[in-house]
Assembly symmetry: C2
DNA sequence: TTAATATGTTTAATATACTTATCATAGGTT
DNA sequence: AACCTATGATAAGTATATTAAACATATTAA
């Protein structure tokens, strides 16, 4: 169990660690998770109700486990299947971002959307610092994409439409919804509106 | 293909839809995803390079697919395994939250952490509106938990320590890191510090 | 109606995952 | 050293997933 992975930049990682970045290598992924939790194959197999041989074979990628047995194994850790596939143990090495390091990714000149840390792949959350000019609007054709999003209004007011609901949110108010629901942001006021928002997963 | 799921409150959902809420029923999950994308078993099987019989059996939960074949099938949609297990088609029906509907979940009286929408389960992101009093500090024993987190400083300054890195962030600056790295927030200034942050997954 | 096409389901054969039991290596104790 | 315990790997047998092909039902068109 070596673990501190997180403190080394990407280019220093071993092959074993690198491979954690893609979804393909279930074996290595399971092995790393198991070791992070300080478990042996046998101890995990006991907790999970499978044999140690099965875990050995899976970790070597000599078999592709069924969902049911993978679930049993992860229950022994315990960890959800969803977490297992989601977790990205290789963290990016940049942690701090000054205001001017956040590129504006909006296509609309009346809306500014500053992306925290640039278009980094493999993040669970995307954080935006948004500015809506008076009268700006994401448009009549409602937005729809995967994931969920939420945010808090810092300054000014925004009219948010989500599905068949509509409301004007002002400084201090927040929102949260599944991004699959058609939605639209508009600033009907005479003042600029500032929002901090978060999306999952990143779509840019 | 009925779909609009999202616009009906939970108690109106059919059994088929309800079952999407838990991770167990892979079959129904696959079936619903397939139908949302408007595919027949045969068409999906053609795209994925598996037989339609296999998809039929999986959807009936008469077999538990191997990761490899589940991946092949999802590639035909296309959808990642991680998304498949993560996606929660039953959205919560509350979307808007006024400032006073955000409960303070901090245990430290010098730090205020207002949780957007209360402690709702099953969300991909948790959004917090945080206020750090002058001199406040999350403490010498560093924080560590699962997921990732990021945020933007709205007002004042905060000293953030992440692993062996430390920096003072001021209004407009941001941060993002894997929450598994030991971290600490402190306000060394004489002014209050206000932050909007997002975590994934929620730990409260 | 009849034929033709498309859908999801089922059955028997085959391929693969999983178990049981054994093997090989490493570390600790006397 | 010899012995014990624990680790991960392996081989052969068993259980299960997947395929190939047929079945059943519904829809459309002539």
């Amino acid at each position: 169990m070596t673990l501190p992975l997180y403190f080394r930049p990407t280019w220093e990682l071993t092959d074993t660690e690198q491979v954690m970045k893609n979804d393909e290598d279930i074996g290595k992924r399971l092995q790393l998770v198991r070791k992070i939790y300080g478990l042996t194959q046998r101890e995990l197999s006991r907790r999970a109700g499978v044999t140690n041989g099965a875990i050995s074979l899976i970790e070597q990628n000599r078999v592709s486990p069924s969902i049911s047995s993978l679930k049993k194994i992860l229950d022994g850790i315990p960890m959800s299947i969803s977490d297992f596939f989601t977790l990205d143990l290789v963290a990016s090495d940049s942690v701090f971002f000054s205001a001017d390091e956040m590129p504006d990714i909006s296509l609309d000149k009346n809306i500014m959307m500053c992306l925290l840390g640039g278009p980094t792949k493999g993040r669970a959350i995307q954080i935006l610092h948004e500015y809506y000019q008076p009268g700006s609007d994401t448009g009549e054709t409602m937005l729809r994409h995967h994931g969920e999003e939420g945010g808090v209004v810092i300054e000014g007011c925004i009219e948010l439409t989500v599905g068949d609901k509509k409301k004007v949110l002002c400084s201090g108010d927040g929102y949260y919804f599944s991004s699959q629901i058609p939605h639209r942001f508009a600033n009907p006021s005479d003042d600029i509106c500032e929002i901090i928002s978060a999306n999952s997963p990143p779509t840019f």
